[in-house]
Symmetry: C2
Subunit: 252 residues, 2 copies
């Protein structure tokens, strides 16, 4: 029986899920995907992802993989999975991958995006997809601050303090390289996008929460360097809400 | 004590509500609004609406009213209500109205919109807000069919068969006047909009379900006249899903 290794690209609205990782307490992306693959292939598999997303976090291009002996053609698999997945999860691309491909271990870079809505009232049709922050912000100072994290740094100050969450194969180092980090204005939205070789738990949301302190002029942009050097979670700002965060793309 | 009559304009994402009308079985727009008004004014009121919307139906401009002896200035009321309403419901406008104003009885016209997504895959971020229909449709025939309902007609064929739902003050006639009715293309979406002096239960969704039969060329556009004349629900098409429907505006 020929075993095939399948790579999936997924988009999802994370609002009504407890995050990526399967758990008995409620609906998860990984669990819904495992159920859908089971219905399509008749096989009981646990798909692997490029990394966990937390409850309420969205994806435009999460990558997952699984191994199957099903003969279903790759061209039919997206449609078959989408027929049985909840509408909040869509398979947007399917391909065959080499046996050694692993969505997390093979990843070379990831892009995340964070959306902040600046208008007075947040439309109910955006409420699940942005952080509504209508108060004054020094957006230029936030732009300068964002640039301070580009390069190789120890991001301990921006990592959630939950050592149990480290995954097998993790180097247990908190050093990561950020290739780009910038804020841009898109109509009523202030959008943060960053690309890096890896991300710690809550890292993007903790960066955003800290940039907000810069926007409020509680911190100066130059303080970001000192916060990095402190290597202490309490040196940085609060964790921004999950609903503004998107895993945009994983590069291999 | 001065009694004031307050007019509210509301937008809501109806997905997670059992519709406008308050009921013990679960969350409703009217119920959430009554709770919010209670928290802001300290008064127990049941706000009136321009009409019921069904479970899953959205609003861009539903109108409601209530009477209060609270001295809170109109200018502060939207913010105060939005602070306590669920994020899926927003107060977008507040004004004082004459005592004789009634959101339903005073209404002269309403505009509804129905969104159909035509792309192969429906983004999870649109799934709650459109009907995804990726199959072939003769859009020109649908446009002609939409024009056939303009004018004064008996819409019994397009009304849900649920006489219990008729409201006090209803004329019990199913004759309504449609001022405009048209389909337009907006990117990947096919959007139906109509304006009329009143609407029967399920009327817009039953019209859309019937226009889809024209789009599939199961019916010819000219058949719409015969369906109206039949005055029988079974003569028309199926009810389109609630999630594509929006109450856009109420005119007074």
């Amino acid at each position: 029986m020929l075993l095939r290794h399948i790579k999936l690209t997924l988009a999802y609205d994370g609002t009504d899920f407890l995050g990526w990782q399967i758990q008995p307490a409620g609906p998860t992306i990984q669990g819904a995907l495992a159920t859908a693959i089971g219905r399509v292939t008749g096989e009981n598999v646990l798909p692997q992802g490029s990394g966990r997303t937390d409850a309420g976090v969205h994806a435009l291009g999460q990558v997952a993989s699984f191994t199957t002996s099903s003969p279903i053609p790759v061209a039919n698999l997206a449609g078959a999975l989408n027929d049985v997945l909840p509408r909040a999860i869509r398979t947007i691309e399917v391909s065959e991958a080499p046996a050694e491909f692993h969505p997390r271990k093979s990843a070379r870079a990831k892009i995340y995006r964070y959306r902040i809505l600046r208008s007075d009232i947040c439309s109910p049709f955006l409420a699940r997809y942005v952080w509504h922050y209508p108060y004054p912000l020094n957006e230029q100072a936030m732009s300068i601050a964002a640039g301070q994290v580009v390069g190789e740094h120890d991001f301990t100050s921006f990592a959630a303090v939950d050592p149990e969450r480290s995954q097998p194969g993790d180097s247990h180092s908190n050093v990561r390289t950020i290739f780009s980090s910038q804020w841009s204005r898109q109509g009523d939205e202030l959008v943060y996008q960053l690309r890096g070789n890896g991300f710690l738990h809550h890292m993007v949301r903790n960066l955003v929460g800290t940039f907000i302190l810069v926007g409020k002029e509680t911190l100066q942009p130059e303080h970001i360097g000192r916060i990095l050097e402190a290597r202490e979670r309490s040196a940085a700002g609060a964790t921004a809400p999950a609903r503004g965060l998107y895993l945009v793309n994983v590069e291999y």
